[in-house]
Amino acid sequence: MFPSGFEAPRVLKNIIIYILFAFLFILSLAKIPLISAQTGQQGFVLVALYFWQVFRPSLFPYILVFAVGLLYDLTAGGMVGLNTLCFLVMAIVVRGQRRFLLGQSWQVVWAGYCVAVIGVVGFQGLVFALQSWTIPELWAVGINIGVSCLLYPLFLPVLMLINRQLSH
C-alpha cells in the first residue's frame, strides 16, 4: 500500500510541523485579544518561518514560502507581493546563515530572529512610506518589532520539542 521506505511516524511528525505552522499562520491573522497587527501579530508566522528555515529547511522549500507569503497577502488584504517578498528574502538570508546559526545557543538564534523581524518590518515600513509619502510612527514600529521578537521564546519550547522528536 505504501511505497518502499515509508516511515509512518516520520510522516506524522512532518504533518505535525505543518499543522503547527498552519495554526501560527492563522493566529497571525485572526482577531485575538491583547495582540493585533499593529502590535506584532505577524510575529506568529515569522517565528515558525524562521525556526524551520534554520532547523528543517527541507520541509519548507522556497516554493512553499512563496505560496505562504502569497496566501498571507491575499488574506491580509494589503499589498499583494509584499509579504511574499519579505518571507522569501528572509528565507534566503536565514538559509545563508544556517551553518553559523545551528552551532549557536538559543539566545544567538533568537538574536538572529530579531534581526530578521527588524528587516521584515523595516522593509514593510519603507514600502508604506514610499506608497503614502508618510513616515510611519516610530514608536508603533518599535512596539511591532518588540512584540514580534518576544514571541520567539514563547514558542521555542514547543518548536524545539518537535524538532528533537524529528531527529530521533
Binding site: 482577531k31 491583547l34 488574506t75 499583494v80 522569501l88
Partner: protein
C-alpha cells in the same frame, strides 16, 4: 485524440517539473515574481481585489473558528477580573442615570418641537436605518494597513461603501465585500477620507486617517475656530453615508489642524454594525444619480 491528451499531460508534467525546479533552485526567480506582484499592486491597488475577496471568503470560516476560543476566554477573564470594578462602576452609573433622566425630559420636549417644525416646513423624513451586526474575525496582518475582516458578506446584504459602526460610533467603511466575509477600511487608515460636519460651528470638512491613533480634519477654511470637545459626525455629502453618524471629538488643535479621537476603538470590540443603505427606491434613485450609479 488520446495522443493529444497524452501530449497535454506530458506538457503539464513538464510545466509542473519546471515550477518545482524553479522553486528549489531559483529563489531569486521567485523573489523576482514576488517583486513583480508587489509593483503591480502598487501601480494598481484594485488589480488583486477579486483574488483578495475570494481568498477572504475561503479563509473566513477558519479565521472565525480559531479566533472564537480566544474571544470566549478573553470575555471570561474580563468578567472575573471585572468584579472588583463593578461597585465603583455602579455608583458612577447611578449618578449618570440621574443626569440622563433630566436629559430625557429635555430630549422629549425638543423632539416634539422638532416634529412640529418639520410638519410646518413639510420636510421629507430621513429614511430609517437598518443594521447588519457581524463579528470581527481578522486583522490586517500588517502594522501599516488599518483594515479588519468581518464575518458578513453580500449574502447578508453587505455592499461596498457601507458605513461600519463600533459600539459608540463609526469606525470605517466596507471596501471589499466578499460573499461570506468583507474587508473594512478603518477611518484611521491613511487612505481613508470621509466627509464630516463639525457640530457647533456646523462646518463641513474631510476627516483623514493618519495611520495613527488620532485623525485630522482637512479642507477647513482658515477663519473657522474649532474648539476642543467639538463633536464630529458624518455630513452625508455624496450620499455615501447617512447624515449624523457619530465619529469622534476634537481633542487638540495643532498648528491650526484639529486632531480627532474616535468614539469607538476599532480594535477592542468583537462585533460591528454595518449600516445598510436606504431601501426606499426614491432615496436610492437620488443617491444613484449623485454617485453615478456606483452604490
Amino acid at each position: 485524440m488520446q495522443f493529444g491528451s497524452h501530449r497535454g499531460r506530458r506538457s503539464a508534467i513538464r510545466a509542473a517539473t519546471w515550477v518545482v525546479r524553479v522553486g528549489r533552485y531559483s529563489p531569486m526567480a521567485l523573489s523576482g515574481i514576488a517583486s513583480l506582484l508587489l509593483i503591480s499592486s502598487l501601480v494598481n491597488p484594485a488589480l488583486w481585489s477579486g483574488a483578495r475577496q475570494s481568498t477572504s471568503d475561503q479563509m473566513a470560516p477558519v479565521l472565525g473558528v480559531v479566533g472564537e476560543p480566544f474571544q470566549i476566554l478573553s470575555d471570561a477573564v474580563g468578567e472575573m477580573t471585572g468584579l472588583t470594578q463593578i461597585r465603583a462602576e455602579n455608583a458612577q452609573l447611578k449618578a449618570e442615570n440621574a443626569q440622563l433622566k433630566e436629559w430625557y425630559q429635555t430630549a422629549l420636549l425638543l423632539q416634539a418641537e422638532n416634529q412640529s417644525l418639520r410638519d410646518l416646513l413639510n420636510v421629507i423624513p430621513e429614511p430609517d436605518q437598518s443594521y447588519i451586526t457581524s463579528r470581527v474575525i481578522a486583522d490586517s496582518g500588517s502594522g501599516f494597513v488599518k483594515t479588519i475582516l468581518i464575518e458578513a458578506g453580500t449574502i447578508n446584504g453587505v455592499e461596498e461603501g457601507q458605513a461600519v459602526l463600533g459600539s459608540q460610533g463609526m469606525i470605517g467603511r466596507v471596501i471589499e465585500p466578499g460573499e461570506k466575509a468583507s474587508r473594512v477600511l478603518l477611518l484611521s487608515d491613511i487612505n481613508s477620507h470621509v466627509p464630516v460636519v463639525v457640530e457647533g460651528v456646523n462646518q463641513r470638512a474631510i476627516l483623514a486617517g493618519t495611520n495613527g491613533d488620532h485623525l485630522i480634519l482637512t479642507h477647513l477654511p482658515e477663519d473657522v475656530l474649532i474648539k476642543k470637545g467639538a463633536r464630529i459626525v458624518t455630513s452625508g455629502t455624496g450620499g455615501m453615508f447617512p447624515t449624523g453618524l457619530p465619529i469622534g471629538e476634537v481633542v487638540d488643535v495643532n498648528k491650526g489642524i484639529p486632531i480627532v479621537r474616535l468614539f469607538s476603538d476599532p480594535y477592542t470590540g468583537g462585533y460591528v454594525q454595518v449600516v445598510e443603505k436606504p431601501q426606499n427606491e426614491g432615496v436610492r434613485k437620488s443617491i444613484n444619480s449623485l454617485t453615478g450609479g456606483t452604490m
